[in-house]
């Protein structure tokens, strides 16, 4: 088994303010190909900081990051950007779409940048938007969409280049239960197709799709283990009606 993503003793100390803030304090993590890892933990425990570093969006203070067997934390910013285009999909806690591009172009752009042919990029965009119930909003501008719709577009965009790993930070934070269901269905599907996923979430339904749970507390991993499934098939053991 090869790790798609690996962090070794990863540390992040923010030192911009009056006092240095240790946000991530020595994280070791290996994510296998096809694995779906949920990251949970209290607010301020370092979840966003961790996944930002893993995706090269924030620099580490010390430690190593490996992507597809290649050390990436030592890369220059431009080399990182190039690699990210091809290998990483990212959904942010606060979605950021390109405001002056249509929804369709927002989703197709990363695929085109990753070198996928225009025809394939368009097909992929169409199927992703359809899966997220956004097929009829392709020509809209992001500002014309609700927060939940924008977040779903951000997910479609992150998956457009068929990344080695999908990194997501609270991708259902702005969604109501119906929209969450669309996102859940798509995540379940791409995971089944072998997509590697690392996802920060407070949503237990989303987290329960994962194979494995990593719990952060105070910048450190305090628990790392499987989410087992009993596959009872009946409600009796889960729901207790009196």
């Amino acid at each position: 088994m090869s790790a798609v993503l690996k962090a070794v003793n990863l540390v992040k100390i923010y030192s911009g303010g009056a006092l240095p803030v240790p946000a991530v304090r020595g994280v070791d993590l290996e994510v296998e190909e096809g694995e779906f890892v949920a990251v949970m933990g209290p607010s301020g425990s370092g979840k966003s900081t961790l996944v930002h570093m893993l995706g090269g969006l924030d620099t580490r203070t010390s430690g190593e990051i490996w992507l597809d067997g290649k050390r990436v934390d030592t890369l220059s910013e431009s080399a990182w950007a190039l690699l990210r285009r091809e290998k990483v999909g990212f959904v942010f806690q606060f979605f950021n779409l390109v405001a002056n591009m249509t929804v369709a172009d927002n989703v197709e752009l990363p695929a085109l940048l990753a070198g996928i042919s225009p025809k394939e990029a368009r097909e992929r965009r169409e199927s992703l938007l359809a899966a997220l119930n956004l097929g009829d909003r392709a020509d809209a501008a992001p500002a014309q969409l609700s927060g939940g719709e924008q977040q779903r577009v951000a997910l479609a965009r992150a998956l457009a280049n068929k990344p080695s790993v999908l990194l997501a930070d609270e991708p259902t934070g702005n969604l109501d239960s119906r929209n969450t269901r669309d996102v859940l269905r798509l995540l379940g599907e791409v995971h089944k197709q072998g997509q590697t996923i690392v996802m920060v979430t407070h949503d237990a339904r989303v987290a329960s799709l994962a194979d494995r749970l990593v719990s952060l507390f105070d910048g450190q991993i305090v628990d790392d283990g499987r989410i087992t499934r009993r596959r009872t098939g009946t409600a009796g053991e889960v729901i207790d009606l009196r």
Binding site: G41, P42, A204, R205, S215, F217, D223, A235, V238
Partner: protein, 168 residues
Amino acid sequence: MRPHLLALLAKEPAHGYELKQALEQTFGSAYPSPNIGQIYVTLGRLEKDGLVRSVDVEQSNRPNKKVYYLTAKGRDALTAWVEEPTEGPRVRDEFFMKLVLAPLTGIADRMALISRQRRHYLSLMADLNDLLSGTDPRDRVAGLLIEGAMLHLQADLDWLERCQEDLA
């Protein structure tokens, strides 16, 4: 199960097996399938308490069947059940007792307890997810029941995080 049977009998008289079917039909796949023996035992008790009465109905080629119907006293009991406020789901919590008391025993530390419990809740959630995706979307009663259970679990998880922040 007593008030559930009373409620079904308030609609129309029925025999034991019909009550089992009615429960299954009403609650759909989310209801732990009721045991016929338990239904008969419950009906016997209800009859003893004067809440239902039964008549033997003759059947050709088969033994008589007992058809149960609601008495006035039964209707009063049912009304009282419907109208009394229902207890919230969380009045006791065994896990919380473990969390508070375990450090005294030296058996497990709180962080480990919380982590294990969190993964257990997520396993339950995964089961509910499977259950929901295997449920006919038109079966609204079952769907709502499962969604309710999910929301309770989410609250348990949120509360677990509060315990972690304050106690661990």
